[in-house]
């Protein structure tokens, strides 16, 4: 575990050294990158305000619980924590929506809980599938997506299942 938490540090140390040896202006690059990160956060904010409101409404109204109960028998059989049902449903459709759901789960159950970790791994190893498909095909001017959508959804399904199983195995 100590080695694991060292990995990001080692990567950064290596990166810093490599960049310096190649004569890169390390500090300026970092500053510009941080600036981009701040812009990214600002871009996220409006969507997250709306989606946080939506997700809190969804939970308070009892709809969230209803959906979870609906999906629970199947998910339990598959070994996936049923609380992540909404996350899995939203993930391919809306990146910030899924982030809002995941962070709600992470704060509610705790970052180091099985459900919190499971939500984090699911988010970390998947993408906003439909958004990516729309961007690429429309940019290429190809109208028939053919097998891209089913194949990408297979990938998502595999991602959610393996995320749940791996978390269960490591921290369950």
């Amino acid at each position: 575990m100590a080695l694991l938490s060292l990995t990001p540090l080692l990567l950064l140390g290596f990166l810093c050294l490599y960049a310096r040896l190649r004569g890169c202006d390390v500090y300026q690059a970092l500053l510009d990158g941080a600036d981009k990160g701040l812009r990214l956060t600002l871009e996220l904010m409006p969507a997250l305000v709306l989606l946080f409101a939506l997700i809190h409404t969804l939970r308070a109204s009892g709809l969230g619980e209803y959906l979870v109960d609906l999906a629970a028998p199947l998910l339990r059989r598959l070994g996936v924590p049923e609380e992540t049902a909404l996350l899995m449903l939203l993930r391919p459709l809306s990146g910030s929506g899924a982030l809002a759901v995941a962070s709600e789960l992470i704060t509610r159950f705790g970052a180091d809980s099985l459900i919190g970790r499971c939500a984090a791994v699911m988010i970390g190893s998947s993408e906003t599938t439909f958004y990516v498909i729309a961007v690429y095909f429309s940019a290429a001017g190809v109208r028939e997506t053919r097998w891209a959508i089913p194949a990408a959804l297979c990938a998502d399904l595999a991602c959610f299942l393996s995320a749940a199983w791996i978390c269960r195995l490591l921290w369950g």
Partner: protein, 192 residues
């Protein structure tokens, strides 16, 4: 599409809140949720800036380009047709390496360049376009910065300790996507 989804979830929530008799609570939750979003964003802003700073450095010092060179043999195997064009191969390399480093802003333009060139090549190369999309929907990211930031602000003991799980799960998901693509490709009706 997102508009429909938003409306649907919102109206369903209203319906459920009336049904279960906790309309007042729901109204409260609506405002509270909106309120909570800003501290949440501020909570992850620091880590997001920090990671994006390092990723920018990786791109500028040529590490991303190096990585994309290393990925070429793999890409030649995955995209046998379109990688015959040097321009597409380099765009693919850039796309994949930017994805690995979590440089979303750099990955998309490179991917789009590759997609456009593939579509222009005509039929055989066009078949590889779904593959490119699958590769991009599977999120092959080495450092999951955003979600680690969320975990850190929620008080995780070691926000990055999920990394091996994320790697393995991404890898399995890519394999499933590629496998599904190669099976579906053979059975797709419009393709003889």
């Amino acid at each position: 599409m997102l508009g429909t989804l938003f409306t649907l979830i919102f109206l369903l929530s209203l319906y459920f809140s009336v049904l279960s008799g906790n309309a007042a609570q729901t109204g409260n939750a609506l405002l509270l949720g909106a309120q909570e979003a800003i501290p949440f964003c501020l909570g992850i802003a620091g880590s997001l800036c920090f990671w994006s700073a390092w990723m920018e450095l990786a791109e500028r010092c040529g590490l991303a380009a190096r990585l994309s060179d290393l990925l070429r043999p793999l890409l030649r195997r995955l995209f046998p047709r379109s990688s015959q064009s040097g321009e597409i191969l380099s765009a693919l390399g850039e796309n994949l390496s930017a994805n690995l480093l979590g440089l979303g802003n750099a990955a998309t333009p490179a991917g789009i360049r590759a997609a456009r060139a593939m579509a222009a090549l005509g039929e055989p190369a066009r078949d590889e376009l779904p593959l490119l999309v699958v590769l991009n929907t599977a999120s092959l990211q080495l450092v999951p910065g955003t979600i680690a930031a969320v975990r850190a602000s929620a008080g995780a003991a070691a926000p990055f300790d999920i990394m091996p799980a994320v790697w393995l799960s991404s890898l399995l998901s890519v394999c499933a996507g590629l496998g599904a693509a190669s099976i579906l490709k053979r059975r797709w009706p419009s393709c003889r």
